[in-house]
């Protein structure tokens, strides 16, 4: 008599569970190995996704075009004289200069950003203290402030220009990876600090959405002024930057996943082959099951259920452990493998974003690994007579 399908599944599930409990040592070691394999994968995917999320906002909320001058084949500072010319182009709603440089704060490298006063006031909601208003006033990122125990009101100067004295008026609360090791000041202060006049790292062009393609043509027309005395302009637009950033994350993430799966699969196979873990017990059990009337398909179903239960336990544990490490301990020891130059104990907040896809990918990987280890050998054994297996 054929049993209903749900009852068969339920019976197989209970049988699988019983088997796992009976061989609790084996189940525990296999689950532990899987957690060790899945944990770095889940962590890497979560950090990658967290950073990608932040990068997409950075591109989405940034300017439509970034214009600089071509200097020796690279991006060079642009003269502020271009600002009025670019503002007059059809479809341009705003052009603002921005300085982005780098300087050492004691022994720690920071990004230095010089902004227009309106942009500085826009940071108000993120600042503990107040935004810079007078010359020499700066905001510091939380990473720098924490590392050097900087308080609001503290004056300081830096080695790059010891004559320029700054006063900290506020600390930027953490919002993303790039707001941590950062000094924000007015555009004129930044130019004074780097001892540069009448130039800016870039001119940022904002447009209403529908005029971007038209404006791109006008800008490309202006990028080559035609005369040999005027440097060419280098233009980065939002669309191409987005494409490049997405490719940068996907390419690296994809390579990582492929290499990881190959290494993990080889590792688990080597582990199973070298240990011969539970093979004799398995043989005897299959023999008994065949002797009492189990069909091969039912035996394989039970082994599949065992693998599924182990995989579910392993991936859930790996996700919870990974969350505890990345969110509770800020990726201590592991973050440096995924975010460059953050050290063993990161002082910047490491972003991590867990998606259901990460869980499903980990589950599929764990299920494939456990199945490939158990299903084939179980099927081979099920072809042999029970008496031989039970011997």
């Amino acid at each position: 008599m054929d049993l209903p399908r749900t009852l068969i599944i339920k019976n197989l599930l209970f049988a699988a569970c019983g088997d796992l409990i009976r061989h609790r040592g084996r189940s525990f070691v296999v689950t532990l190995c899987l957690v060790a394999i899945l944990f770095p994968l889940v962590t890497a995917l979560a950090i990658s996704e967290g950073l990608r999320f932040q990068a997409e906002i950075s591109i989405g909320e940034g300017a439509d075009f970034y214009v600089s001058e071509d200097r020796y084949g690279g991006n060079g500072p642009i003269s502020l004289d271009h600002q009025s010319g670019l503002s007059g182009l059809q479809g341009v709603s705003r052009v603002t200069p921005r300085v982005v440089g780098r300087a050492y704060f004691a022994d720690r490298l920071t990004a230095v950003v010089g902004l227009e006063p309106e942009a500085l006031s826009a940071l108000k909601t993120l600042v503990q203290g107040k935004v810079p208003e007078a010359p020499g006033e700066v905001l510091l990122g939380q990473g720098i402030a924490r590392a050097f125990k900087i308080q609001v009101g503290m004056p300081f100067s830096l080695g790059a220009n010891p004559h320029k004295t700054f006063k900290v008026t506020g600390i930027l609360s953490h919002s993303c990876l790039w707001s941590s090791d950062l000094m924000v000041m007015s555009h004129s202060d930044a130019n004074e600090f780097f001892i540069i006049r009448g130039l800016s790292t870039q001119l940022l062009i904002y447009t209403p959405n529908d005029s971007s393609p038209l404006l791109a043509k006008s800008l490309i027309g202006r990028s080559d002024p035609g005369g040999s005395q005027v440097p060419h302009l280098r233009i980065e637009d939002r669309y191409h930057t987005k494409e490049r950033v997405q490719a940068g994350f996907s390419h690296k993430g994809g390579i990582f996943i492929i290499l990881y799966i190959i290494v993990a699969t080889l590792a688990i196979q080597a582990f199973l082959i070298t240990s011969g873990f539970g093979l004799r017990v398995m043989e005897r059990e299959i023999g008994v099951m065949k002797a009492i009337g189990w069909r091969t398909s039912e035996m394989l179903g039970e082994i599949g259920m065992e693998c599924l239960l182990i995989s579910l336990t392993a991936i859930s544990s790996a996700i919870l452990l990974s969350m505890a490490l990345t969110k509770g301990l800020n990726g201590i020891l592991i973050a440096q493998f995924f975010v460059a130059e953050v050290g063993l104990v990161p002082e910047v907040e490491i972003p991590s974003r867990y998606l259901p896809f990460h869980g499903l990918l980990g589950l599929a990987l764990a299920f494939c690994i456990t199945l490939s280890g158990g299903l084939w050998s179980a099927w081979r054994k099920a072809q042999r007579p029970p008496a031989e297996l039970m011997r």
Binding site: T96, L109, G248, K252
Partner: protein
């Protein structure tokens, strides 16, 4: 044995549900105030940062290709770049310089 199996099944289900709830809450935190803070910061600074590095160490392209779209570490002092550069190791992002066709052929 069936009672033990039931307990084990409940434990596995509990673990799966806990992981699912943790993922759900994590997704929620990224949607709310946190995303808004990132937007405020990025809007004010005009878009800053894109790669898996907190400061522009070695080169700017892997910090933000909008600031410096050229990979200058490829050309000096070791052609092909430093194999041990932080942007070439195990970080989760890598932005390449896009080659431009700048060769203009003049007929004799």
């Amino acid at each position: 044995m069936e009672r033990r199996s039931r307990i084990a099944l409940v434990l596995v289900t509990l673990l799966v549900v806990m992981a699912a709830i943790a993922i759900f809450f994590d997704l929620q935190t990224w949607r709310g105030r946190r995303a808004e803070d990132i937007k405020v910061f990025q809007r004010a600074v005009g878009g800053l940062g894109a790669g898996a590095i907190a400061t522009p160490i070695w080169n700017f392209i892997n910090y933000d290709p909008r600031i410096f779209s050229v990979d200058d570490s490829m050309t000096w002092p070791v052609p092909g770049g430093y194999s041990y550069g932080p942007d070439r190791t195990a970080t989760v992002s890598y932005f390449e310089e896009i080659p431009e066709n700048q060769w203009i052929f003049h007929e004799p």
